[in-house]
Every structure is written in structure tokens, then in C-alpha cells.
């Protein structure tokens, strides 16, 4: 089960967002992920742990390596949540369109 608070908190950090951007292009090892950042591998591992706890990233075991990739289920769940919220907001503004149309009609009525 996705913990939305954890997921959004994980996204509040620019380094973690950059890590997700990189993983969106495909699987990567900690070393590969650390490369573009002026950060040590342990620091990157700490960020990866936050992303894993938030169910946004998963690891695979391959010999001594632990390549990371996006956790599709977690990301999909978050997307669904966001789509629902966006719909609720759009619904507000669709209703406002109707309110404005009614206001315009009344105004016309007054000036007649």
C-alpha cells in the first residue's frame, strides 16, 4: 500500500527528484546514480532508502550489484491519486464556467 505522505515527502528533495529522473530512463547502480552529483555513495544510498521506503524505487540483486529501478506500482498509485485531485480541481472550474455563464445572462436581462 502506497503511503502518500512518504511518497510526496520523498519528492520534496531535488536530489531525489533527479534520481527519479535518471531512473525513468532505465535501471542504474548506486555508482552510476552517484556520478552526476557531488555526493558520496553513502549519501546517495541514504536518498535511495527514502525512495524505497516510499515505494517509488525497488532494488534487484545481481551478484554483488544492487541495481535500482522505478517501482511501477507505487508510481502508478501516485499518478492515480494525482489524477483524481486534478479532476476535482477541474470540476471546480467547470462549475465556475457555468456560474459565470449564468451571471452574464442575468446581466443581459438587467440592461434590457
Amino acid at each position: 500500500m502506497l503511503n502518500l505522505d512518504a511518497a510526496f515527502s520523498a519528492l520534496a528533495d531535488p536530489t531525489r527528484r533527479a534520481i527519479l529522473s535518471r531512473l525513468a530512463k532505465g535501471e542504474a547502480t548506486v555508482m552510476e546514480l552517484a556520478e552526476p552529483f557531488a555526493m558520496t555513495q553513502p549519501a546517495i544510498s541514504q536518498h535511495l532508502k527514502v525512495l524505497e521506503d516510499a515505494r517509488l524505487v525497488v532494488r534487484r540483486v545481481e551478484g554483488a550489484k544492487r541495481p535500482r529501478r522505478l517501482d511501477k506500482a507505487g508510481i502508478d498509485a501516485m499518478d492515480q491519486w494525482l489524477a483524481m485531485l486534478r479532476k476535482a480541481l477541474e470540476k471546480n472550474y467547470d462549475r465556475l464556467d457555468e456560474v459565470l455563464a449564468t451571471m452574464a445572462k442575468h446581466k443581459k436581462g438587467e440592461t434590457r
Binding site: 529522473s21 486534478r86 462549475r95 465556475l96
Partner: protein, 154 residues
Amino acid sequence: MTKMMLKTEGDTHVVVTRRFAAPPEAVYRAHTDPKLIQKWLLGPEGWTMPVCINEARPGGKIRYEWTNGKGAGYYITGEYLELEPYNKIVHVERMHMPDPTPDNHVETRFDADGAGTLMTMRMTLPDAQTRAAMLATGMERGMEASYVRLEGLI
């Protein structure tokens, strides 16, 4: 033409833009007249706003209470800082669930756009953590969307 745009900006802002086929005066009134607000600022299907206090003057109070009619509900409180009819509204607001969230500073502009209006709502949260929490809870007006997609991440 009326497609809503929502994006995050920097670490602490959320910006929403939307076009309306009515002049700024009408859109401004729909944002400040309680009788009009209660008709549209409702969020998901099935929710209503039985309490709508909106004192549209600097220092004036805002209080919106929503309910789904099945026992669930929440409210926001706020204060107006600045009003420039019919172009600009600046206010702060916080959500109570029931503990109050940190203040969200909101500047809403209504710019004439042909015969219509371009609305730009710019929210400023105290820090990145608060913005993240706001997006996660869905916050006031069921508003926060496509954070991940908007950042062009995934």
C-alpha cells in the same frame, strides 16, 4: 482554451492558471461573493459548502466548511491581505484537519484576455516539506495535481 494548467515552481510554489470566457470583474466577483463561491468551490462530486464566510476587505476573514453529507468534512480559515478589484486578491489560508496546516500564501490575478480572463493563482508554502504534505493530502479545493508529471520526471 479553458484548460487548467498546474505546475510547481522552485521548492515552495504551486501555480495554477485557467482561462474563463467572462471579464475579470465577473471572475473576481465569483471568487469573493459567498453566494457565488458556494456554487462552484466544492471539489469532488457530492460535496457541499454549508458555511462560507468571505469578508472581501483587507484584514477580512475567510472560512469555508465542506461536508460530503456522510460525516466527513473539513474547513479552511484565512485572512485577506490585499484586494485590488477586479485584478488581484492576496490572502493567506490554512486547512484544519483538525490541526491547522502551515499558512499558504495565495496571490490570485485576473488579467483581461480578449473578451475573457486569464486567472493566475500563485501559492507560496513556507518550505518544500509543507508543499509536499499539501500535495499528499489533496489540500483545500482538492487541488494539487500531477506533481510528478509536472516536474517532467517520469
